[in-house]
């Protein structure tokens, strides 16, 4: 849509004004306007542009802060005690400080995705040129809903993606500046800025995924994307094993290319952890997925890898030490994570290989992906044969070490989930490894127990030893990430979603910091798949839900189809693919409801909030990226549920369902403000148990726009889950049943009794054409 750097040089020009010699005209950018959709009110919004919309949401969903620290130590006036109603030297309150930290977390997350997108884009432009076309998905015209909505641009080539990233980068600098001492002071304005960071993050993620889909041949929105394998057992240990960790696929792509070019896939196994693994498998399904990011220590300690290649994000910063313990070198490939290694980018590949193989260096930094491919393959082929058989502790060695336990319990206190590690160690000392094995699926792999242990026990290795047999059996099918939801799919399901007949979209996203293992993610997914919700997944969650089989030996990817429709399980892809999930919600507003997208954020968010029953679930949310992804959902009006560790993001955004005045909405047909009930009740919510989360997910799928049939379907799921998991009918049905037609037929008598006891009034809750935006009112009485 735009062209940069137009230069016009004229040796001599004669005109009415005179004669000019050596005239040069330079134009930075020319916009070719070939998009007939008129520009909306908020293209390229600044930090304060959408403040009023944010405040509407934040007025309903007030932050409940749970400070992780009562101090501020960001300037030299400090430390300042902010407890209670105290203020810091700059005047900031505790609420201000907490919201400031939330903003910073969201800025870090969004910057990380943006930097990832920029790094890939620069490289892909070098490889494919600025004019490389963008084709994101089959049967799709709305190729980039976030860019259209936020930036008001319709990208056609890689060049256009640069414009979107220019905007995001500029805004992120503005946002970080507001967190400086003596800038913003109001917590709600900080929260609005965090929303802004989240919105920017979804633009950046969209850029990142579009550019790799368009140029690297990844699946383009197909429901039947290929199956790959996931788990320790999927790795063929008879081959040399390269372990790729991180979130940037470029170095791994060149490893795979080198293997293909030299016909070496038969000799080398490429296994990945986290989103690099997702994207490797999207590039070539022969690339294996070992597991989520939390398995780094676990997999290295297995002794299986012969070479570790790291790119960026969520890496263990002590990876070099860990790799050294099993005698394998590390290749770092990103300036964001150089690990103190010598930069060998410009050296001869064979010299680098020799240094790594001979152990003269523990690792190297190579910024050029193509050279990474060559060096990695040549190195692993030489290293692997010499490493076999010398990798892990024996049972006897573990038992002997375990006898030295001091009973100090520091391992338990250091464990995020207070797992009974010490008892398991005592059992191992007696030769019983079962308790250690039982901790394996519950362990989040952080290694804090090891750091705390005064004897320096390698406890992650102990858990591996206890689960040795289970580990070898860990081999599951996983449908590779299919990328965007297509326009045709949106056209087919848009009506059913908006009217509530498909009860909702559950997006299982995020990291692997689970309170009780990854199987809870599969539990949630299957519960809602059976209930004919659409379940979409990305990142570590998309991996963890693969790792549970039923009695027939099938996992969820084998049991449920990959289409975006009721009962479909859609692996969208890596972290940056999250933009396609929110993008699908945006596309429902545009494709089904014909709402204009271009620079029209408020109207679309208002539509999504009131009509699209989507719920984000980040059961193991850990990172700042997860915070900014969630924040982008909040601004779009999509509620997010996190697991108990998610409470550590320091605040929830909670509605007060009993306060009728909080749930007033305009009827767009009349302009009247009416009560619509607390739907959805919360915008950001940390659940204590998986059972609580499932009931809340069903409840949060309700929207004011639900038809009576749709509301009845949604209520039936909410009531059924509540009865099963809480042992009773919900006590707040009177806030969600608008009229008799909303009541699910099969439970009518019981519900009517509950409604009667709660003083329910038929018709008190309005059914309307809902909007929070006064300007969307079409007619006034």
């Amino acid at each position: 849509m735009s062209k940069r750097d137009l230069k016009l040089k004229i040796d001599e020009l004669s005109s009415a004004l005179g004669t000019f010699k050596g005239l040069e005209i330079e134009v930075g950018r020319i916009f070719e306007e070939d998009w007939e959709e008129p520009m909306g009110p908020t293209p390229l919004p600044g930090v304060g542009t959408l403040r009023e919309w944010d405040r509407k949401l934040l007025d309903r969903y007030k932050p409940f802060y749970m400070p992780f620290c009562d101090l501020c130590c960001l300037c030299t006036f400090g430390k300042c005690d902010l407890t209670g109603d105290k203020r810091g030297a700059c005047g900031l309150t505790m609420a201000g400080q907490q919201s400031r930290i939330v903003l910073l977390a969201c800025c870090i997350g969004a910057s990380t995705h943006c930097a990832h997108a920029r790094h890939m884009l620069d490289h892909l432009i070098e490889e494919f040129g600025r004019d490389a076309p963008i084709e994101v998905a089959i049967n799709t015209n709305v190729e980039a809903p976030h860019m259209r909505l936020v930036c008001g641009m319709r990208p056609k080539t890689l060049r256009d993606l640069e414009d979107a990233l220019d905007y995001v980068e500029t805004q992120l600098v503005q946002l970080v500046a507001t967190a400086h001492t003596g800038q913003e002071g109001d917590n709600i304005d900080f929260e609005s800025k965090a929303f802004h960071a989240g919105m920017l993050d979804h633009v950046a993620m969209e850029v990142a995924d579009i550019e790799q889909i368009a140029t690297l041949g990844m699946p383009k929105g197909v429901a039947d994307a290929p199956m790959t394998q996931i788990g320790f057992g999927s790795i063929d240990t008879s081959k040399a094993v390269i372990m790729c960790i991180g979130h940037n696929v470029l170095p791994s792509v060149d490893i795979i290319d080198y293997l293909m070019d030299h016909d070496l896939f038969g000799e080398i196994e490429v296994g990945g952890l986290c989103c690099t693994a997702h994207d490797n498998s999207r590039y070539d399904k022969r690339a294996k997925v070992i597991g989520p990011i939390s398995w780094q220590l676990r997999f290295i300690r297995s002794g299986i890898p012969d070479l570790v290649v790291v790119d960026e994000q969520c890496l263990r910063t002590d990876i070099l030490i860990e790799a050294k313990m099993i005698g394998v070198p590390v290749i770092a490939t990103s300036e964001k994570s150089m690990l103190g290694l010598p930069n060998r980018t410009h050296d001869d590949p064979d010299e680098i290989v020799a240094d790594l193989v001979e152990g003269r260096v523990p690792g190297v930094l190579i910024i050029e992906p193509r050279k990474v491919g060559e060096v990695a393959v040549k190195t692993v082929l030489k290293i692997a044969p010499n490493r076999k058989g010398n990798k892990i502790l024996s049972h006897e060695e573990v038992s002997k070490l375990a006898e030295k336990c001091r009973n100090c319990m520091e391992c338990i206190r250091a464990c995020p989930n207070n797992l009974p590690i010490m008892d398991a160690v005592h059992a191992a000392a007696r030769g019983d490894f079962e308790p250690l094995g039982s901790l394996y699926p519950l362990c989040v792999g952080c290694g804090r127990c090891e750091s705390a242990c005064p004897e320096g026990f390698p406890l992650i290795t102990f858990f591996n030893k206890g689960a040795e047999k289970r580990i070898l059996d860990e081999k599951f099918a996983m449908r590779v990430g299919r990328g965007a939801v297509t326009d045709v799919e949106i056209r087919e399901v848009g009506r059913a979603i908006v009217f509530g007949e498909i009860p909702g979209i559950v997006a299982l996203v995020g990291c692997a910091n689970y309170p009780a293992g990854g199987s809870d993610v599969a539990l949630i997914a299957e519960e809602f798949l059976k209930r004919r919700f659409i379940v979409v997944a990305t990142g570590c969650a998309a991996m963890d839900l693969a790792m549970k089989r039923d009695e027939d030996g099938l996992n969820l990817y084998e049991k449920y189809p990959g289409y975006f429709d009721a009962g479909g399980l859609v692996n969208i892809g890596s972290c940056v693919s999250n933009a396609h999930i929110t993008g699908a919600a945006i596309k429902i507003a545009n494709i089904f409801a014909k709402r204009p997208l271009r620079g029209n954020y408020e109207e679309i968010a208002d539509y999504v909030y009131n009509r699209v029953g989507a719920v984000g679930v980040a059961w193991g949310a850990m990172s700042q990226k997860a915070a900014s992804i969630a924040s982008g959902c909040w601004r779009l009006g999509i509620p997010v549920v996190v697991g108990p560790h998610g409470a550590k993001y320091r605040r929830n955004l909670l509605g007060r369902k009993e306060k009728e005045e909080d749930w007033m909405t305009y009827d767009a047909r009349t302009g009247e403000e009416v009560y619509v009930g607390p739907a959805p009740e919360h915008l950001f919510y940390a659940a204590e148990t998986v059972e609580e989360a499932m009931v809340m997910i069903a409840k949060l799928s309700m929207r004011p726009n639900d038809t009576t049939k749709g509301r009845a379907v949604k209520l039936s799921h909410y009531i059924d889950l509540h009865q099963r998991l809480y042992g009773s009918i919900p006590d707040d049905l009177h806030l969600y049943v608008r009229g008799g037609a909303d009541i699910p037929f099969t439970m009518k008598d019981e519900i009517l009794k509950a409604l009667d006891e709660a003083g329910w009034v038929d018709g008190k809750i309005a059914q309307l054409d809902p909007t929070l935006l006064e300007r969307m009112v079409r007619r006034r009485d």
Partner: protein, 182 residues
């Protein structure tokens, strides 16, 4: 009663304002007795925590028999109370409860007004830590007590960290005294 101010998780160190350590069980019983509207919050781990009564749910049910304490179960735990015959147990998500407790105008579960003393037992350690941090900072008129086996620094008052058997004894004494209205 020996007391240790060692948090249950290594890094969960609060401050500058930290919980007073409860020196003996009688203090808890006395605080509950003096409170106008005490609330006992029973967290989702309660059915996994052994006490002399069986588990913490059994202890909570016995504690409520004196009629002084309102009981609310968080997570999805209310079903377990009902199975054991305690039908009048309230249910609330922990986050919702924290949000309401910071509101002095909240009408409480029974419409009679908010609570002046909140006693926590059986919650996930770090969630209790966080909720009490929220209440310490944003509900300053509210007193909170933690009955966790490990010290909870963000409560107003907390039991000290102690071994399991000693903790069971302490809980038994508190429950008995509250049950008997002592």
């Amino acid at each position: 009663m020996s007391v240790k101010m060692t948090p249950g998780q290594t890094a969960e160190i609060a401050g500058p304002k930290k919980a007073f350590v409860i020196p003996k069980p009688e203090v808890v019983a006395s605080m509950i007795k003096r409170a106008k509207r005490p609330l006992l919050v029973v967290g989702s781990k309660a059915d996994e925590i052994r006490t002399k009564d069986g588990d913490l749910i059994d202890s909570a049910i016995r504690m409520s028999k004196g009629g002084k304490v309102t009981v609310v179960a968080t997570g999805h735990l209310v079903g377990e109370f009902r199975k054991r015959g305690k039908e009048n147990t309230y249910s609330s998500q922990l986050m919702n409860l924290g949000d309401r407790l910071r509101d002095p105008d909240w009408e409480g579960f029974d419409g009679e007004g908010t609570y002046d003393l909140v006693v926590f037992a059986g919650s996930i350690y770090y969630m209790e830590w966080l909720i009490q941090s929220g209440l310490k900072n944003f509900a300053q008129g509210l007193s909170t007590i933690s009955l966790a086996q490990s010290y909870q620094p963000n409560a107003s008052w907390s039991l000290g960290t102690m071994p399991s058997e000693q903790w069971k004894e302490v809980i038994d004494k508190i429950v008995t005294m509250v049950e008997e209205g002592a």
